[in-house]
């Protein structure tokens, strides 16, 4: 019976023309994939090759320096984030839910906030010379990247360690191996895969860094390729140069994307649970480590953010109308972004679930935006659809399309988790009872997915609220959003004014993140 159901289900899933939802999803997917993702990228790449063939582009010392700086700062940021992130993860897991868990939670805060807010928070908290040296240049950029990225290591490595169990470590210790040797020989090999995955993500984020480098660079010597693309598009009106820089970035990021996709095969899910301590450090050591880690987390993450919110409370009465306008614009843009990203993300997840021929390729299409920097995509759009971009300059549509593309992996993953949480048996039973694919979607899947849909909406809103890069290029006279307003104030180093707007943004995002946490099915 089960076998025949399985066969009939698969036969059904292979016929998209027989299913309205499948056909519709396919249409949405194709509409997204070709005009929004493939065509602009191919068009920009073609333009870049044309420039290079005609010898119009010279690899100047500035460009070579930009590539060198992008690579060095990404490497250093990844290394420092790994040291701190893994340290926090190991400490928290070893100490269970006790005093370590708040370090874990506080660490996740800076990860969920936009880079713009983190930059501002660090500037407000540390000032320009608070670290004992100038925050501009390498110190500030690295500090900001570490603050935003060590939670990636902490979460991925921590979860991987939790999922792997401690039996092997216990055996090694009981056989007389020292704590250090046990960690190096037994624990570390188990964490290598998650370390690699976190490293890839962190390196990519830092390599494509825009806001931290733009604000804390303070010198043309500190420029990433992403910043170079912005410079070419915004100040030089030079799309060809932007195209070559984008191609260069694509070439450098493509291997990272392929490597990341390989790591996706080993999915790890683990929940925070009490487990035995295998490395049993003394009480004093444990306290010292706790104080050090706590001070670092407060210094680079929690403290700066609290300061921003506190400062904004005391200056709240000023600029209210400006903030209200920005809030309305942010809401409008987030609404557009949700309207665009939800159908595409849903279509992707639905096709992966039900359309077996496409399912191996869909994750690539849906996750590729993770490795496409915003400036790259913006340049691609400018090159592929110049007239269209001009026509939509007085609205948020162009910005919303860019934001939709970048937010897609988040939305898709949330919805896919939802689909994966629905047992196949439920669907088979519905089909065997004569339900069509449309009935199945309407009466079974959507009701079961409701919480995941809300989660996806929340994530898309959060992303849209914090994103500023696309607005810097496509935003025009339609007014500033909250994030753009923070950027504008920060651009003038009017830190106090920026704090006020950022405080509102943080509170808004905290409310949404809290709602997400409430409705998070996992």
């Amino acid at each position: 019976m089960a076998r025949s159901l399985d066969k009939s289900y698969h036969r059904f899933s292979l016929k998209p023309l027989a299913s309205v939802p499948l056909l519709f999803s396919l249409l949405i997917f194709v509409l997204f994939l070709f005009p929004i993702l493939v065509f602009p990228i191919v068009s920009l790449t073609g333009m870049a090759f044309g420039e290079l063939q005609h010898g119009n582009f010279i690899f100047s010392p500035y460009l070579l320096n930009t590539i060198e700086f992008s690579l060095i700062q990404s490497f250093l940021s990844t290394l420092l984030s790994a040291v701190l992130g893994v340290g926090v993860a190991l400490y928290v897991i070893e100490n269970g839910r006790g005093r370590g868990s708040w370090i874990w939670r506080l660490s996740l805060i800076s990860f969920s906030l936009p880079s713009l807010v983190v930059v501002l928070a660090l500037l407000s908290f540390w000032g320009r010379e608070g670290l004992g040296f100038s925050i501009f240049g390498y110190p500030g950029i690295l500090l900001c990247h570490v603050a935003m990225n060590y939670p990636v290591f902490m979460k991925l490595v921590g979860e991987s360690w939790l999922a792997s169990g401690v039996e092997e470590e216990c055996t090694a210790l009981s056989l007389g191996a020292g704590r250090f040797r046990t960690f190096v020989s037994v624990t570390f090999p188990k964490l290598k895969s998650s370390l690699f995955k976190a490293g890839l993500l962190c390196f990519t984020y830092c390599f494509c860094s825009f806001i931290p480098v733009a604000v804390l660079g303070g010198n043309p010597s500190f420029s990433t390729i992403e910043l170079g693309i912005y410079q070419a598009l915004k100040f030089e009106n030079n799309l060809s140069k932007a195209a070559v820089l984008s191609l260069l970035q694509l070439i450098l990021l493509f291997p990272l994307f392929l490597a990341f996709q390989r790591t996706q095969k080993n999915k790890i899910t683990a929940t925070f649970q009490k487990r035995i301590q295998i490395f049993q450090f003394s009480k004093t050591t444990s306290w010292i480590v706790w104080v050090i880690l706590g001070a670092i987390v407060i210094g680079i993450s929690f403290g700066p953010l609290v300061l921003v919110v506190a400062k904004s409370v005391f200056a709240f009465e000023s600029q209210l109308s400006e903030i209200w306008d920005a809030f309305l614009n942010s809401a409008k843009l987030a609404g557009l972004c949700v309207m665009l990203v939800l159908p595409v993300g849903f279509a992707g997840a639905y096709l992966e679930r039900h359309f077996k021929i496409l399912s191996p390729f869909i994750p690539y299409a849906m996750v590729v935006p993770l490795f496409i920097p915003v400036m790259f995509l913006t340049a691609a759009f400018s090159g592929a659809f110049p007239e269209l971009i001009e026509s939509f300059r007085d609205s948020f549509w162009a910005v919303a399309v860019i934001q939709m593309t970048i937010a897609l992996p988040l939305v898709y993953r949330s919805l896919l988790s939802g689909f994966e949480s629905i047992p196949r048996d439920v669907e088979w039973v519905a089909i065997s009872l004569g339900a069509s694919q449309t009935d199945l979607l309407r009466d079974v899947e959507i009701p079961l997915l409701r919480r995941f849909i809300f989660l996806a909406i929340g994530l898309a809103i959060c992303f849209s609220l914090g994103e500023v890069s696309s607005l810097l290029l496509f935003g025009s006279s339609q007014g500033a959003t909250l994030s753009l307003l923070v950027f504008q104030k920060l651009g003038k180093y009017a830190v106090q004014d920026a704090n006020l707007v950022a405080g509102v943004l943080i509170c808004l995002m905290a409310l949404i993140l809290w709602s997400i946490e409430k409705c998070n099915p996992s």
């Binding site: 320009r128 010198n219 987030a334 557009l336 180093y493």
Partner: protein, 339 residues
């Protein structure tokens, strides 16, 4: 979940809120952020314009260069009727683009032939203020020896304490580059650029950011105007802010305004330009812009009398676009190399 539901509904509802479309008789003026804010030129113009029973909307961008580029990017889809705050270097780019009207200035500026500077008038744009570039410092913190030349001044600097402005993003920054080029020709220029880079702490994207950082003690010297100390004398009663002056002369920057070719309110825009160069607005230019007015013979505030008088450098006020690009490329490579 209900919270998220309410938020989602709120977001969707804002989509239907009427867009902030420009009204029929409302002028849209693109400008840069330094000209906006409390006690600024834009505030003055808005007030004066509203007294005439008309409306104006200022849209500001972070730097003057960005403001001009926005119009160049938007082309015929731009909402701007006017652009306010474009200097003589930007005018070259603006004129080539063909997106701006070439005004008959005699209608707008009756005293055109007497206005300062004459070069600004040739472009078809209406100049409204000008000033001389200078390094501002706080005499309670640093005491420069009295350098006679720019080169002597930068040679005596030992630490990275200068705040300069990125010429790629700011027209003031580019005027500074033009100043250095006028002083030091060819190979000497490149050598001195490296020297300049070695004592520069920050290349700020625009004047506002640079000056704000200077006031917060980030650097000892900031690129600004000879007239900047007047603000501190007038508004803060502080006399410690001074400028370093050089015998070889200082570079002049002239700010202008122009009408966008695609504007549907050209007559209104012309009226606005007339207001900009009218006597009662020009009289207030020194105290809102902290620059010199273009109309000659106006009485300057007492704070301006305490300023050091400098002579303009003998050099062309602007260069063509290809020269601008070549200078920028040379500057970028030198700054990068001297990290």
């Amino acid at each position: 979940m209900p919270t998220l539901k309410i938020l989602s509904l709120l977001l969707l509802s804002t989509l239907f809120i009427a867009p902030l479309a420009a009204k029929e008789n409302e002028l849209t003026v693109y400008t840069y952020s330094s000209l906006q804010g409390k006690g600024s030129l834009c505030e003055l113009l808005q007030k004066e314009w509203e007294l005439l029973g008309k409306k104006v909307k200022f849209v500001s961008f972070s730097t003057s260069q960005e403001t001009l580029n926005q119009v160049l990017l938007e082309k015929n889809k731009t909402k701007a009727d006017l652009i306010l705050g474009i200097d003589q270097q930007g005018l070259v780019k603006a004129k080539i683009s063909g997106h701006f009207l070439v005004n008959d200035l005699s209608k707008i500026l009756p005293l055109a032939d007497k206005a300062i500077p004459r070069e600004g008038l040739q472009s078809g744009f209406v100049p409204f203020d000008f000033g001389y570039l200078a390094f501002v410092y706080d005499k309670t913190k640093v005491k420069p020896t009295s350098p006679t030349s720019f080169l002597e001044f930068i040679t005596e600097q030992k630490a990275k304490r200068m705040i300069l402005i990125d010429p790629r993003t700011s027209q003031l920054g580019f005027s500074f580059l033009a100043w250095t080029e006028a002083l030091w020709k060819s190979s000497e220029w490149e050598k001195n650029l490296s020297k300049l880079a070695s004592i520069t702490k920050l290349w700020s994207p625009g004047w506002s950011a640079a000056y704000s950082l200077f006031l917060k003690g980030e650097g000892d010297y900031v690129l600004s105007y000879t007239t900047s100390p007047a603000y501190h004398i007038e508004k803060e009663k502080k006399t410690q802010y001074q400028t370093v002056t050089f015998n070889e002369g200082h570079f002049m920057q002239v700010e202008s305004a122009g009408i966008v070719r695609y504007s549907g309110r050209k007559e209104l825009a012309e009226e606005f330009l007339k207001l900009l160069v009218s006597k009662h607005v020009q009289e207030k230019i020194p105290q809102v812009q902290w620059m010199y007015p273009v109309l000659p013979g106006l009485k300057l505030p007492a704070s301006f009398e305490k300023l050091q008088v400098v002579k303009p450098i003998k050099a062309p006020l602007w260069v063509d676009e290809s020269t601008q690009n070549a200078w920028l490329a040379a500057w970028t490579n030198h700054i990068t190399a001297s990290r």
